[in-house]
């Protein structure tokens, strides 16, 4: 009875909202169902990797953080910053940090400028471009361990470089055991990384709108003007990216040093990784943990800088 009256009362008009309401309920139900399904699906696809990353990186890293703020695993007394102070005051850590910083400060600007130079060189009208590209890129694919013998021969006290220098009446230099050792490693670093960076720059140069350069040509702009006012503006995000990438790669240079001069290099080549290796060998968990946490903090700061810079420069180009 009441149903009927209701039907009569609201008539044809009443039906619509009811139907719509029903639909809405159904749709929200569907949608939440779909949402659940999406969550399940994405969990299924992301699950293995997230589990692996958690087990092999995150959980142990949290333990590392824990180790860095206690006295020792056997005596878990909370000491907060003591370990960090100890590490920062440690003379080998200081040597390692300053050498690593010094190396990055020399190698990174060179890596950016020279690889940009190579990319621009391959933009010019020269023959056999793709062959040159292959040659420039090839060091990236050569294992350091394979060519280290040649580097040893070149930079040895009685090695090739000194022989060549002798013909210019330059006194022989003990490249690997003097203040010049860092330069040797910079050369090796550049040799290995320039090709990769060059490819990044070449891709960025390709993305510069051609019309802009054509207009500049028509207006009679000089090559230098085109480079500084058009190209560099568009390249700025890539310059940054290459710089950060090079900083990260410059931390990997331990590999070259280890293969070239072994575990105990000349003081000037004592890098962060050497310090870590020594703490591993002594099972000094506190030192190891605090150094790793410090390093991670520096990296997070660098990465934040990169993201910020990408924001700023990205907008600059788009706008």
């Amino acid at each position: 009875m009441s149903m009927k009256t209701a039907e009569i009362k609201f008539g044809g008009r009443g039906k619509k909202p009811l139907a719509a309401g029903q639909g809405k309920v159904k749709r929200t139900w569907d949608r939440s169902n779909e949402h659940i399904r999406d969550v399940m699906h994405s969990a299924a696809f992301l699950g293995p990797s997230v589990t692996g990353v958690a087990v092999f990186f995150i959980v142990p890293f949290l333990v590392v953080v824990y180790y860095s703020i206690i006295r020792s695993p056997l005596n878990p007394e909370f000491v907060f910053l003591d370990n960090f102070k100890a590490v920062l005051g440690n003379s080998s850590f200081r040597t390692a940090a300053s050498n690593t910083a010094m190396f990055s400060a020399i190698a990174v600007p060179l890596a950016v400028v020279l690889s940009l130079g190579l990319a621009l060189l391959l933009e010019c009208r020269i023959p056999c471009k793709s062959l040159f590209r292959t040659f420039f890129l090839s060091p990236m694919m050569v294992p350091v361990a394979s060519v280290v013998l040649i580097w040893q021969v070149v930079f040895h006290y009685r090695g090739t470089l000194n022989v060549i220098l002798a013909s210019f009446h330059v006194e022989p230099i003990d490249w690997l055991n003097s203040k010049y050792c860092l330069l040797v490693i910079v050369v090796l670093f550049l040799w290995k990384n320039l090709g990769y960076n060059m490819i990044l720059f070449m891709a960025a140069l390709n993305n510069i709108p051609k019309e802009l350069l054509e207009v500049a040509d028509v207006e009679g702009a000089s090559a230098a003007h085109k480079f500084f006012n058009i190209k560099l503006r568009y390249l700025s995000p890539t310059v940054l990216f290459v710089a950060i990438l090079s900083i990260i790669n410059s931390f990997k240079v331990f590999r070259e040093i280890y293969l070239l001069v072994g575990k105990y290099p000349f003081d000037g080549l004592y890098m962060m990784q050497h310090f870590m290796n020594n703490t591993f060998e002594n099972f000094d968990y506190q030192k190891m943990a605090s150094a790793a946490v410090l390093m991670a903090l520096v990296m997070v700061a660098l990465i934040a800088l990169l993201f910020k810079a990408e924001d700023i420069f990205g907008k600059d180009v788009e706008g």
Binding site: Q152, R158, W191, F307
Partner: protein
């Protein structure tokens, strides 16, 4: 005017050639030197490598090292020794293979599934996760080695290959690159397959993976060369000399075997050089797409 331009181009070409020569020299020299006989090697480089063992005599003082481009007599004797007479080196080579190949395969497998997850579904949690992966990817080994060491210690994996293979399999590097390339697949393609009633797994397997084939190849090359070249992980996680890959072992070769070292070094770079020559274009494309760290 025209002449000037030609001169400019010539100068640039010479410059490029000079760079190319410098870039190629170490590789080429290693290869040509591997064809020298032991006696020629000792005659040329004896002074450099005898220094290592400390047997430096006064008679050598005036002598210098002679970096030679072409061997006096081409000989395969070093290779014969390495390949047939002393299988020790081949064993180390094999160590490298069974470390690196599983890492490349596992990392790509895990990464392609994960990349699909990051491509198909977005949301706050997932974009935070992705951001986190990027940070982890950018962390240097100095940071990640300590956690890896601890886990291996807990799971009793230290000094086994798994202590390197497991963290390698889950390293986020390929997740990042693959996600970037999967996100370039037109959404309509996936939508259409979904409308046809494909399951997520089918969409992933039949549409996304084939679309990413060249990306997968270039990432495989990048991962391969990174691990083929590894030094830091084995010396910490795999201190047992028997199990160490050739990349570490090559540096411990003593001076009496320098001749062999060139041959081994050459053999060691063959796989990565072949991969490079075959996949260079994919590789270049893969690197070029890396342009920025933001997804």
């Amino acid at each position: 005017m025209k002449k000037n331009r030609y001169l400019g181009r010539l100068a640039l070409t010479v410059l490029a050639a000079g760079f190319a020569l410098a870039f190629l020299m170490p590789t080429v020299l290693t290869i040509t030197n591997s064809f020298m006989t032991q006696s020629e090697i000792s005659a040329n480089y004896g002074k450099v490598f005898s220094n290592v063992s400390g047997s430096e005599g006064k008679t050598y003082i005036s002598e210098t090292v002679n970096l030679k481009f072409i061997p006096d007599k081409v000989s395969l004797s070093q290779y014969i020794t390495v390949l047939i007479k002393s299988p020790d080196y081949l064993l180390k080579f094999w160590n490298s293979v069974i470390l690196v190949v599983p890492i490349v395969l596992l990392q790509l497998g895990v990464a392609s599934i994960t990349a699909y997850g990051f491509t198909r579904w977005r949301g706050k949690v997932r974009s935070f996760l992705f951001f986190f992966y990027v940070i982890l990817m950018l962390m240097p080994v100095q940071v990640t080695l300590v956690p890896n060491y601890l886990v291996s210690d807990w799971l009793n994996l230290l000094n086994t290959r798994w202590s390197i293979i497991f963290p390698g399999a889950f390293a986020p590097f390929s997740v990042f690159l693959l996600t970037k390339s999967m996100r370039r697949i037109p959404a309509s393609l996936i939508e259409a397959a979904k409308l046809d009633g494909s399951s997520e797994w089918q969409v992933f397997k039949d549409i996304c993976l084939p679309q990413c084939r060249s990306a997968l190849y270039s990432i495989a090359i990048l991962v391969f060369i990174d691990y083929w070249n590894m030094v830091e992980q084995p010396i910490i996680l795999l201190p047992d000399a028997e199990k160490q890959p050739l990349s570490v072992y090559l540096s411990t070769i003593n001076s009496s075997e320098v001749g062999l070292a060139f041959a081994i070094a050459t053999i060691y770079m063959v796989p990565s050089l072949l991969l490079f020559l075959h996949g260079e274009d994919y590789l270049v494309e893969g690197i070029a797409h890396q342009g920025s760290v933001k997804g």
